[in-house]
Amino acid sequence: MAEATKHEGALEKKLLEKVGEAISSIGDAKHVDEVICAIHSVAVFLFPVDPSFFSGSIGETYRERVCSTVVPSADERDDWSQTFFRGVSFPTFARVLLLDVASDWLSCFPVSVQKHLYDLFFLDGPVIEVVQVLVPFLHHVDKNGGVNANSVQTNVERLLILCLLENDGVLKITKEIGDCYGGENSSSGSLKPLLSRLSQILTCIPDKARLKAPPLLSSHLYFKHITNQLLQILDDKASCTEANSTAIILSFVGEIFSRICRRGLSDLLLSEVTPHVLAHVRRLLNSKEGLFEIEAFQLDPTPRIWSKTMEAVTDPYAVEKMAEQLLHQLYAKHASDVEAFWTIWTLFHRNVKHQASLRQAKISFSVLECPPVTNTLAKGDITHELLETTQRLASVWSKEDFLRSVPLEQQTYITTALGLCLENMSKEELDRTKDVMHNILRGVSCRLENPGDLVRKMASSIAFVFSRVIDPKNPLYLDDSFTGDAIDWEFELQTAEGRVRAITSSMGNEDGETKTSASLTEVNDSNGRNKEKKSRKSKEISHFVLADPDEIVDLATLNCETESDGDDVDDNASLSSDNSSVTSLEPYDLIDDDKDLGKQFTHLVDVVGALRKSDDADGVEKAINVAEKLVRASPDELTHIAGDLARILVQVRCSNITIEGEEDSAEEKRQRALIALLVTRPFESLETLNSVLYSPNVDVSQRIMILDVMAEAARELASSRTLKPKHAAHGPLISDISDPQPWYLPSSASTPWKKVSETGSFHLNWANRFERELQPKPGQTKKGKTRRWSLRSRDRDQNSTDWSQNRFPLYAAAFMLPAMKEFDKRRHGVDLLGRDFIVLGKLVHMLGVCMQCASMHPEASALAISLLDMLQRREVCNHAEAYVRRAVLFAASSVLVALHPSYIVSALVEGSLELARALEWIRTWALQIADSDIDRDCYTMALSCLQLHAEMALQTSRALESTGGSSSSVGPMNISLPSAISKLTSIQLPSPNVHL
């Protein structure tokens, strides 16, 4: 041994000398042939160089030197080359070859020299070493500037392609590994990190390659080649007997697989792998007919090889991606269930067995494990596994943390898996398991409370399956919309896009418009959409709001429209029976309905009284039916009774009073009555509602209802329109300039002139015509059909009236402040920050709606600070439930929309940094959400929030500029300005570093 080492040392020394000589002669070289000679002098010791291939292309003097070199024997050469590649000589010489030679001389080399001499060093050497040397130079940046980087890199790329792709370098690597392993068993420990490094180097090549690198090095083509080579390796391994090195090679392959997946190319990988495996599976299925398939598969080497390979894929992410892609591929390849099963089995069954922690993978398997199991296998074997799987799934599924901390996609996976497992279980089996039943019940109950539709649907699906296991004849339908026999698990397998849409739509219902920044900037817009949603309702509302204030509202007509329908009964008709004898008494229409039966209310006092009698269901229902109309009529008594009415409306239990299936309508009427109440008498009713909101007497649903109603009422107040006579500008008050009519119109008209609309602009059209409505001559009367529109045309009506909008700001403080005051107090039955998170979410959302409704009004600015104070509480903004975070994002976005830029400017100018700090907090917090939140909606909402923030900052800086320009002359103002501006700039950096 010592001798061998000594011998090796001597060789090494000799080699180094040679290399040194060669390097120095390259450095001194004046002619390309000198370089070739120097290289050849080294190469001749290492490779079987045949000078005749290139001797023709070099100069005469050098040709002789080359040809006359002493060629060592083959044995000696092996020794030399082993020593050369293992020691420092190769890296040293390669450096010279790759940098100096490549940049200075390589272009002068004849093609034959390059091919038969220069490339030898890299193509004939052990690929492991070569790759390790080559790859760093891919990215070489020369600091001395003496080297032509471009030619160096082009050369390296060329060599890599030659080495790895065209000469099947990966195949060679595995062979080398096998040799190494066979040679020295002891070094297997050190082999592992080497292989891991190697696989990393191999897979990072496309990343390191320059943009203008040859297309073969683009990640797509490159990995395709690599994968093919890997597949070939696996085939080789399967066909030959198992060697010691097999395991390590397989793990090497596995590692490359996993790295490819990590680089996001799982689709590419699987598109190669799947057909390959599938072909194997089909072959086995065809050939081994009659045999038990499981044995066939266990005996055949291919699956073993594959599963060992996959075992090496330890990265859960990679496994997940592979599994997902595999399913896609199987689907695309039209694999039958059995084939698909065995494919998956081949690839993943070891993972399932040995790496229980890989939940992602496991799920996909248990999904597809079931069908073939029941079809093809003796059940006993699998049942045990199935139970175990189910148990594990159920325990994970039931955890609340899981619900909170895992993205929705993953939850749908698990739910599907659990559901499919359950479908294949019997009651006895279920009884045998330990906790499954308990876990499922827990999981269902915590999901049913969740605000997300999809989550609830998961719960109800599982509950349905579960109940069918327990008692097949009596399935439990938790969801009205779902009545079928079998569950469509497809909702789990929807594309991501669909899923998001489902969520956004559900979110849209609650939050109105949170998705698009455009809609956020226009409160009116959102109101418009809101109106669409409840078109019927708003029609009614507008009907009442539009009503002429002078109009007499007859309570009786409100209540008994049906009765008053028959006003036009002609007395003649009854007179006609005057002369008739008894026998000819003509009956009237005998149609009878009981619509009007029961007590009809004309006074709100009666309504309140009836609502209090909770045992009289009919009375309560009727009271709810008329409540909104009566409230909208806004009688005098409303002021005094608003508080009582609000309280009792909140406390009424709609579900108790209505027959099955009509709860919704009663509920809707109740809410509309409350909205009407809030709109007509905001202060009185808000006082009550706010006191009720946190009282222990109401439950969560009532709190939610209160908040919903407040939000709706805010929207309605904001969009309410009242008809006011316009202050007609009759004639100029001070000067003639303010003449309301353009100069070119005839003056002194009692009704305004209008241009007749014609095509063409004013200046192009010579024949402008104007028209006006003439007032009726005295004595001339026209009968209008209704009183309201009688003689006035619509046009005129519009001219003389004014739409005053948005009454909300007046009440904004009453809406928001009391609700914000006590939200964090924990009382009996009230725990907003903890258990009642839905209420918290609704509260925050309501506050956001209020901000939107008050936007651009001074009140909004005053309230924004306190709202932001609340949002900044850590328990609120970093709440565990995504629902709350979404609401907070919505509210924050609303604040950004609602603040008038000029207010922000004035706050800054006056040196109030509170607002600046809060706005800055919005930005950082939204960034943080966008960065790290698991919930997809939170992410998108955070992004739009950032967008709004940027918009706000832009507007503010514009406003600030104008202020700065004007205030520079004012003096005291700009003392505080610089600091304020610096503060502002820190606010507004509109997140250039967000990765979308």
Binding site: C560, E563, G566, D567, V569, D571, A573, S574, L575, S577, D578, N579, S580, V582, T583, L585, E586, P587, Y588, D589, L590, I591, D592, D594, D596, L597, K599, Q600
Partner: protein
């Protein structure tokens, strides 16, 4: 023929503050009397549709149960019954009530049975053969109204002036459920004394026991059938749904007993011809029946089944052509009395109807309801030329 929609009231009289319990037309003047549950008795002008006067006839707590006017008592008198155990007779002065009642009958009855004045047929010359019994007198059109008829054939305008000498004794009687609610008592309004009770309490008789089993008397109608020589008959409805017909000459045993209703009989009305009538109860039936005074029997003529139960008042128009019922379902229903077919369902009231009544001239019908309104209707006005 397309059906006409049912008409609306020609007038609605508002002013009562509580449920209007009973309504009655003045026998000759265009006046209407109404009594409400808070004890108020109002007099209305049926031409102007205005309240003429208002008085607290009975205590506020007990209220007025029934009002009626009778030509027998004179045009200036009106009887009211309260749930305070009294029946009061008032004088009408200047279309207002006298300060104090002329007469108070302390019946000590606190039940729901409305009293009844005598109803007499106008006997035409062709007595029973005549199909039309011209009514020259007015039925005060409620179930318990006064029917004053004359032997002499007269036109409408001379109504209520005369009395038949034979009938003079009985004409001022009033029938009311007595202190014992199962008994019917007759009081004389001219003297203020109780005349008799039905069944007459006498030892050894079992009849009194038999009405006790029938429960309370819920409705009563006093009438004078033709050919009875002025002796009054009483038709009484009981809680168990049965009706008894009495002849006051034999106060021990009823003439006949029938049971048309399954629930308490709430209202009875005998047509002005006294040969039949209509009854309503708490069940979903309206029953029209015939009375045969020769055999002393009562036979079912027509049974009308209603959608919704409860008839609290019935009335037959004096000309015997149509009848009306006041229902708990807020409806006033009008029927062809002869044929028994439905003519109209009148929807106006927004609460239970308590009473209906026809005007003596057959022109108007008044309905009283718990919604504190009185509605006036004009349906099938009678033949003016007659």
């Amino acid at each position: 023929m397309s059906k006409r929609p049912p008409p609306d009231p020609v007038a609605v009289l508002r002013g009562h503050r509580h449920s209007v319990m009973d309504v009655s037309f003045h026998p000759s003047k265009s006046l209407l009397f109404t009594g409400s549950a808070d004890g108020e008795l109002r007099i209305w002008d049926t031409v102007q549709h205005r309240a003429v006067s208002s008085a607290w006839a009975h205590s506020r707590a007990n209220g007025v149960l029934a009002v009626a006017a009778s030509p027998w008592l004179g045009e200036d008198k009106i009887i009211s019954q309260g749930r305070d155990g009294t029946v009061k007779c008032w004088d009408i002065e200047d279309a207002g009530l006298s300060r104090d009642p002329l007469l108070v009958l302390n019946t000590s009855a606190y039940h729901f049975c409305k009293f009844s004045l005598v109803k007499k047929p106008k006997i035409s010359l062709k007595e029973d053969g005549g199909h039309s019994k011209n009514c020259d007198e007015q039925d005060a059109g409620d179930t318990r109204d006064v029917q004053c008829t004359d032997d002499t054939e007269r036109a409408v305008e001379d109504s209520g002036v005369l009395q038949d000498g034979d009938l003079a004794d009985g004409a001022t009687y009033v029938a009311v459920a007595g202190e014992q609610p199962s008994e019917v008592e007759l009081w004389d309004l001219s003297t203020g004394n109780r005349i008799m009770q039905l069944p007459q309490a006498s030892p050894g008789e079992s009849s009194s026991a038999s009405t006790k089993e029938r429960g309370m008397c819920m409705a009563v109608q006093l009438f004078c059938p033709p050919g009875s020589q002025g002796f009054l008959n009483v038709l009484a409805g009981y809680e168990d749904g049965s009706m008894l017909l009495w002849d006051i000459r034999n106060a021990m045993i009823p003439l006949t007993s029938v049971k048309f209703h399954s629930e308490p009989v709430l209202s009875l009305c005998v047509a002005s011809s006294c040969d039949g009538g209509i009854s309503g109860g708490a069940d979903n039936k309206i029953v029209m029946y015939n009375l045969n005074h020769l055999t002393g029997s009562c036979t079912l003529r027509k049974e009308i089944i209603l959608e919704r139960p409860g008839v609290s008042g019935t009335s037959i128009r004096p000309d015997g052509k149509i009848a009306a019922t006041a229902g708990w379902d807020h409806r006033v229903r009008v029927y062809n009395y002869r044929k028994g077919n439905a003519l109209a369902i009148l929807k106006y009231h927004r609460a239970t109807c308590n009473a209906v009544s026809y005007s003596p001239d057959c022109e108007l019908m008044a309905s009283a309801s718990e919604d504190a309104t009185v509605a006036l209707w004009k349906l099938y006005p009678p033949h003016q030329s007659l």
